[in-house]
Symmetry: C2
Subunit: 276 residues, 2 copies
């Protein structure tokens, strides 16, 4: 009989905490469990930097509305420093630059536009969005931390990714060829999402390329996120879609809806992929 | 009889020229004709910054492959300075930060990943892309520099934007409601596109929101571009699509194919829109 050690599970707020460490500088602790093959998830790192960006902006510019990151060299789990600089403090929005360092090397560079998202309201026009999944959270299939190649993905023991039955063939190593994954994401302890954790949500799903051909590690080169509305409580619906694989690079879009069906965030990324 | 003065038309290479002005600094001249209501086009500014980024990177990192810009305050036509700093010089790619200033104020902040795009090849997988227009360049309808609200858009006298007949109802003030514009873009003098001018191409079309509801100026807050392949000569096909209008912000995707049908670039932007 094999006994599996209980998983140490901290909340997203805990693993993304930043602590002031001088003017425009914060420190954070990259959690060893929020990783894929020992490398921290890129959206998780962007969320940490987003907290740093909001901390230096005006008090009423409390929500990231746009974030763009270029990934230089992956940090290891452990302490990192983030330097954040307000580039412009406007009336309705501020722009902030943030740079993450570890062991004296630059790891991630990012730009943020921070503003304030009002509660409530409704989209004026949403006809250009893809359709979210109709499958309920409980009917979606939980993603196992073990990949088809038997590697364990630590972060999948922290968050709960559930795939629609129509996407779940990927879990059995049978991609559909459409390059598309639909499902749900729940944070540890069902913590409610906010504009910071939405920066992680757009990079939380497995690569949509797994629905084309399984290809091991897919490192993110660039990630852009737009936060469009404040999410309601509970897990979020996600659609992750690949568009083009060329020159061993793939671009993917990600769409996020809250439990009420409100579109709350979207992301686009360019990543490396060992196909073609 | 009304005589219209001949339009002064410079090539894209000319209007985006950068001149070294010290370590990591270049100067450029923002052309008064590459503007919309007196404001320079955002993709054009990104292209100028892209030239600055490539100029400081290693010689074999000669192509921008990913660029992300946040727009702080629009520069006026005239001289601007761009400071470019290599954040990391890697083996296969470098990351560069660039900041555009004018009259002592920061105007645009951008991050670039520069690498080398090999000639030839073909996409490994492209099934996730939307379909480009099938209409030939000569059968598409030339966009008039005069908007439905009678304002003249100076840049449309410089470049040639042609819309598919199916998109062209927008030119008569009759949007389809789909939020989608398809057509072609040709540079002055039919100058061949390259990875720098593709940074402009993804922001060259009118806002796709014009196909929903005409809404005056649509200022870009954030623009991200991925350059995927070296384009062949001649004009490029473009598809510009809006997805969601919420809180007076809209996101748009842009897809660019060269004359042979090869997908060469894609962009995503968040912009302000006075709707909703």
């Amino acid at each position: 009989m094999t006994l599996r050690a209980p998983v140490d599970r901290r909340t997203f707020s805990e693993v993304s905490t930043v602590t002031p460490a001088g003017p425009g500088r914060v420190v954070a602790e990259v959690d060893p469990e929020w990783t894929i093959g020992g490398k921290p998830n890129g959206g998780y790192l962007l969320a940490v930097m987003g907290r740093a960006a909001v901390s230096v902006a005006a008090a009423d510019h409390d929500h990231v509305v746009a974030a763009s990151a270029h990934y230089l060299s992956s940090p290891e789990p452990g302490p990192v420093e983030v330097d954040a600089e307000v580039l412009r403090a406007g009336r309705s929005a501020s722009q902030v630059q943030a740079r993450m360092h570890q062991h004296g090397r630059e790891r991630v560079a990012a730009l943020f536009t921070v503003s304030h998202l009002a509660s409530g309201g409704a989209p004026h026009w949403a006809d250009g969005l893809p359709e979210p999944s109709e499958v309920a959270f409980d009917d979606a299939v939980k993603l196992d931390p073990q990949l088809p190649d038997r590697r364990r993905v630590a972060i999948m023991d922290q968050v709960e990714v559930r795939l629609d039955p129509s996407s779940a063939a990927v879990l059995r190593g049978s991609p559909s060829g459409r390059g598309e994954l639909r499902g749900w994401l729940r944070l540890p302890g069902d913590e409610p999402f906010d504009p910071i954790s939405l920066l992680y949500a757009v990079d939380a799903f497995p690569p949509a390329t797994f629905d084309i051909e399984f290809a091991g590690w897919v490192p993110t080169f660039e990630l852009t996120v737009y936060v469009r509305a404040l999410p309601g409580p509970g897990p979020v619906r996600i659609l992750q879609r690949a568009h083009l694989i060329d020159g061993q690079r793939v671009d993917e879009s990600c769409w996020v809806w809250d439990g009420t069906g409100r579109p709350v965030a979207q992301g686009t990324q360019l990543a490396g992929v060992r196909l073609g």
